[in-house]
């Protein structure tokens, strides 16, 4: 059963069409990769799905719920969380505070002005930091962390929203080989443990084929192929426009 259904989604920026008539189904519990050369429209597609941008035409359905034109926070409440290509955390806050405030939001108590937040969700936050291997950095400011650590922290922040569907935009971008390797393991574990559906973009083909159970290829804003990794790998169009250029 599809958890996410994208129907004929189009986004124009003036005359430029960033995403053109994309129709796509993401099966529940799949780990679905969107690949494509730079400028193919991957990030725009992510922004459309997650509510950061609204589509020119087309629709996004999450389970039987229509998402397009909802605000990001409404989409998060529906059960979707995301990370960003460039690290996007609360850089002046400690790693612990980052996860803690995410948990506050997730618990829906962000209007509670009486409950002291000092040690609120302490255990859960530390648990999540442990999960993404940042427990030693809990009390350091996010901006002081190494880039790879920040990306992992952002994963923890996204997971704090207790999503069913997780969107990761280039989860290993900017990481060293070792960090990439460890992140791949981390993502695999998390997805399996928590029963998540994963939709991610990635430029590193090793990562893609390591994780993905399905792949869609985006080129000039259009899906040119979609299916199991082996099928996509063999697809002539994909070879021509994408892999061929590598």
């Amino acid at each position: 059963m599809a958890i996410l259904e994208i129907v004929n989604l189009t986004k124009n920026f003036g005359a430029f069409v960033a995403v053109r008539g994309v129709t796509l189904q993401i099966e529940e519990f799949a780990t679905h990769a969107i690949i494509g050369p730079n400028g193919a429209g991957k990030t725009t597609l992510f922004n459309l799905i997650s509510g950061l941008a609204s589509p020119t035409t087309g629709e996004v359905w999450y389970r039987q719920q229509r998402l397009a034109r909802l605000q990001p926070h409404e989409i998060v409440r529906a059960g979707m969380a995301r990370s960003f290509q460039r690290v996007n955390v609360f850089s002046r806050r400690t790693a612990f505070e980052n996860v803690q405030v995410a948990l506050i939001a997730s618990a829906g108590i962000n209007y509670n002005f009486l409950r002291n937040a000092g040690s609120l969700f302490r255990e859960e936050a530390l648990e999540l930091l442990r999960l993404v291997r940042c427990e030693d950095e809990a009390l350091r400011r996010a901006s002081e962390l190494a880039y790879g650590k920040q990306k992992q922290l952002e994963l923890a922040v996204a997971l704090a929203a207790k999503p069913k569907l997780l969107l990761l935009d280039e989860p290993t971008a900017g990481m060293s080989i070792a960090e990439t390797k460890s992140t791949i393991g981390l993502i695999k574990d998390v997805v399996a443990d928590r029963g998540l559906t994963l939709l991610f973009t990635e430029h590193d083909m090793n990562v893609v084929f390591e994780i993905a159970s399905a792949i869609s290829v985006l080129h000039h804003g259009e899906i040119i192929a979609s299916g199991a990794p082996e099928d996509v790998r063999k697809n002539d169009d994909v070879r021509r426009v994408y892999l061929g250029q590598d």
Binding site: P72, H73, V89, S91, A117, G118
Partner: protein
């Protein structure tokens, strides 16, 4: 926003204030009353500036709305003190709800400009709505309850109101909501992807800020025994911005320090030179240039977790 050193500082401030009436002179009592009122005003702005990252250029609007409402309720309607104050707070909160609903949709400078426009509108209405506000002559003569006419009792009353407000705002600042608001200040996009309704949170902060500004306005109207359109003019909003920025937006006590320092400096310089504005400008300039991180930086160190 909150931390143990700041809590100690606040307790010390209130301890010192509690001693002021026993110094045997009345002037320090008057001055302390004035400083407390403006500190409360600055503190209210920081709910917005410090906690959601929106710098309002029109916060004085709520000071004046609270002040006029309080003056009107006490004097024209003859309501009891508690009812009048509650009414004034509700009025300014309601105004903040309406104005805020239109302003929080906007970002950064656009937010600032719309708040500025609204406050000048409030100023213009206060100048023109003679039957309620007294027009440009102002609302002269506020009927303060007889038990508050003595400056010492008014001092204690102001101290009590400010202390309760500080406690309330401290609890807010340390609360789940306070943390969420700080998150919004630092990164609204990320905050919305945590599932927070950023606009509504901002609106909540706007209303809280407006309500406490209204409370400060009510105290001001009672203290001055009048309310005047100039209170809503942009220069008053500018002054409170200076107070808050001078003290630092990243800490709870910053605005209190900023308000006290700026107000006292102004009062003192004014007594010694007719060019007080020049001297104040130079002092402000010196602070901005000599401490590029500002008092902001100095005080935020109090907040940052320390390791010895």
């Amino acid at each position: 926003m909150t931390s143990r050193p700041q809590l100690i500082f606040l307790l010390a401030v209130f301890a010192v204030l509690a001693v002021v009436p026993f110094l045997g002179a009345r002037y320090p009592v008057e001055l302390a009353t004035q400083v407390m009122i403006f500190s409360l005003f600055a503190l209210s702005l920081n709910v917005l500036a410090g906690q959601t990252g929106n710098l309002s250029f029109g916060h004085a609007a709520f000071l004046s709305i609270g002040g006029y409402a309080c003056a009107y309720f006490l004097t024209r309607l003859g309501w009891p003190l508690a009812v009048s104050m509650a009414g004034a707070v509700i009025m300014s909160a309601a105004a903040a709800l309406i104005i805020g609903a239109l302003c929080v949709r906007l970002n950064a400078i656009y937010f600032s400009m719309l708040t500025l426009a609204f406050s000048m509108l409030v100023w213009a209405v206060a100048t023109k709505w003679r039957s309620i506000t007294g027009g440009d002559d102002g609302f002269v003569g506020v009927d303060v309850p007889i038990y508050l006419t003595n400056p010492y009792s008014f001092f204690w009353f102001t101290l009590a109101v400010c202390a309760l407000s500080v406690v309330a705002l401290w609890i807010l600042s340390a609360s789940a909501m306070g943390h969420a608001l700080v998150a919004i200040r630092e990164n609204p996009t990320r905050a919305s992807f945590l599932g927070m309704n950023v606009k509504r949170m901002r609106l909540a902060a706007f209303v809280i800020a407006g309500a406490f500004a209204g409370l400060a306005g009510c105290l001001l109207a009672m203290y001055v025994r009048g309310m005047y359109p100039q209170t809503a003019f942009w220069t008053q909003s500018g002054q409170v911005i200076i107070m808050v920025l001078l003290g630092g937006i990243h800490s709870f006590i910053g605005p209190i320090i900023g308000a006290a320092v700026l107000y006292l400096l102004e009062v003192i310089t004014e007594q010694y030179t007719e060019y007080w504005s020049f001297v104040m400008g130079l002092i402000l300039l010196a602070i901005v240039m000599a401490f590029p991180e500002g008092l902001v930086g100095i005080f935020s160190k109090l907040r940052a977790p320390r390791r010895s």
